[in-house]
């Protein structure tokens, strides 16, 4: 949906990215590249304030400007843009979720991912390498078949691989029947893959700034101010009060704390999530492999590093530290499934803070406070949702009502009991 406003960029003039501009600039000593986003300082008032300059928040600002013609928008960030979970995740993108609501939401994101580099004029390196999820027992097989059948009827790409097919698709895989967790088959989503996480934040930031959005970094939001009628008036920040009738909170692990200042209590808990990379090696790993049973998630980045995801630590924390035992277990799980990597080395590990809801599905929509919107609870799945969540958050804010794709992801479901329980659906028991 192209708006008339689209024709009149409100922001600064920026170099268009292309092989041509790269060549032209190379010949002129790379001196003429423009800023990708200006160092904005807050104005007194905006139409919309988005709290949190991660991929979701920056993307929402971009779609507000592009699709809804709302350009008087500020994205306020306590640190540096893209520095939260956007820049700390293992970049897996997939949409093979079980429930219709989830599959449709994530597949909407996948559609947007597909064209995002061109749309943003920023190569976010979406690599459709295929995401393969390993089944290690009969329960996994049943669960994946359920996913596959549901996905196929929803028009979402996902198919079953036999053990031999899984090995052919990913040669480093250990398919010995004597393995502690033998591979009994796999579900493969071919459209799924990875993207360059920083580029997603930067691409949205640049495209939003180009349309006049202010991105205000190093500006912690202290509280959300509500007026006498209860509706939102703006936000108190480290750089003073900024007025806005609409505020959208998209602050991942910090959402609880910010929403509390508006008097909204959230069904959220923030847990440390760790990830690690190996030293870089030449291409050896052609896809993304996930094993929920042994808690191992692995792919190889464009830089050659094996990117490995871990589980969450057990306790609520904002420390971004995480413990050694979890890393030991994660690496052991990788070596169990891919024993040829035993002599590889861990290069660095880091922690993020993931906000988790009781049903492990996101909350994206309106709140009991007029003018206050929330996008949170993505748990470990936030990166893959980025364009979809951003697009739907923009819609919800612009229209003051949810899009049909995010309508089920309400805060009210925790009162009524209509949970979207992806975690319970995959529950292991027998």
């Amino acid at each position: 949906m192209e708006h008339r406003n689209e024709a009149i960029p409100k922001g600064p003039v920026m170099t268009h990215f292309s092989a041509m501009s790269l060549l032209k600039n190379a010949l002129t000593g790379n001196k003429n590249w423009t800023e990708q986003w200006p160092d904005a300082q807050p104005k007194k008032e905006y139409d919309v304030i988005i709290v949190g300059a991660g991929g979701h928040g920056l993307g929402a600002a971009y779609y507000l400007a592009k699709e809804h013609g709302i350009t008087n928008v500020a994205v306020i960030e306590k640190g540096w843009l893209g520095g939260g979970n956007t820049g700390r995740n293992t970049t897996i993108i997939r949409s093979n979720y079980l429930y219709d609501e989830s599959a449709k939401l994530y597949d909407h994101a996948l559609d947007l991912w597909d064209n995002l580099s061109t749309e943003l004029n920023y190569n976010i390196m979406y690599s459709k390498r295929g995401v393969m999820m390993l089944a290690h027992n009969v329960h996994d097989v049943q669960s994946f078949q359920r996913h596959i059948h549901s996905n196929q009827l929803n028009g979402v790409d996902n198919r079953w691989l036999t053990t031999a097919e899984a090995k052919a698709f990913c040669p480093p895989l250990n398919v010995s029947p004597d393995a502690r967790y033998p591979v009994m088959g796999a579900a493969l989503q071919m459209r799924a893959g990875t993207a360059r996480h920083d580029a997603v934040a930067w691409g949205y930031a640049r495209a939003a700034a180009k349309r006049g959005v202010d991105i205000i970094q190093n500006c912690p939001v202290i509280s959300i101010r509500r007026g006498a009628d209860g509706s939102v008036e703006g936000v108190e920040t480290a750089k003073g009060f900024i007025r806005a009738k609409k505020v959208a909170v998209s602050a991942a692990g910090h959402t609880s704390v910010i929403m509390q200042t508006a008097g909204v209590k959230m069904p959220l808990e923030s847990y440390p999530l760790q990830a690690l990379v190996s030293e870089p090696i030449k291409p050896i790993f052609p896809c993304v492999v996930m094993s929920n049973t042994v808690h191992a998630y692995i792919s190889q980045s464009d830089k050659g590093e094996l990117v490995i995801g871990s589980g969450t630590d057990q306790y609520v924390s904002y420390s971004q530290r995480g413990g050694l035992p979890l890393i030991e277990h994660t690496v052991a799980a990788i070596c169990e499934v891919f024993p040829i990597f035993n002599r590889m080395r861990m290069l660095r590990k880091w922690g993020g803070i993931v906000d988790v809801t009781p049903d492990r599905s996101a909350i994206l929509g309106k709140t009991p406070v007029k003018g206050l919107y929330v996008n949170c609870g993505w748990g470990t799945g936030g990166f893959k949702a980025t364009p979809g969540a951003a697009h739907l958050l923009a819609w919800t804010v612009a229209k003051d009502e949810p899009h049909k794709l995010n309508a089920p992801f309400t805060l009210e479901r925790f009162t009524t009991g209509r949970l979207i329980d992806e975690a319970a659906a995959a529950a292991v028991a027998h």
Binding site: S256, L268, Y318, S319, P325
Partner: protein
């Protein structure tokens, strides 16, 4: 790996012996049937999730097996104190003064 003082065993022991059990001081209502849907939701799902001091439950699962409570700073992960289940949340100002 955290080092946790079990108030029953009176010993600081590695986190591997313990299981985290969520926010503390959320007592199950005496008669849930009297609660509104909103009140019941609050009991089931709403958590304070603070950035800072957090009262939380742990179980010394590979030890004495007992549940207990702890005050921990979620920013530094530092424990201020642990205390038996059923005891009220200690006054932090007194704790800090005592340090």
């Amino acid at each position: 790996m955290l080092l946790i003082n079990c108030p029953y065993c009176d010993d600081a022991l590695p986190e591997l012996e313990f299981a985290y059990a969520g926010e503390a001081h959320i007592a199950r209502p005496a008669d849930p049937s009297k609660l509104s849907d909103e009140e019941w939701r609050d009991f089931l799902f709403i958590r304070s999730n603070p950035r800072g001091l957090h009262a939380e439950r742990w179980r010394h699962i590979h030890g004495c097996g007992r549940f207990f409570n702890a005050l921990r700073d979620t920013v530094s992960d530092r424990f201020l104190t642990t205390y038996p289940a059923g005891q009220p949340r200690p006054d932090v100002t007194k704790l800090e003064a005592a340090e």
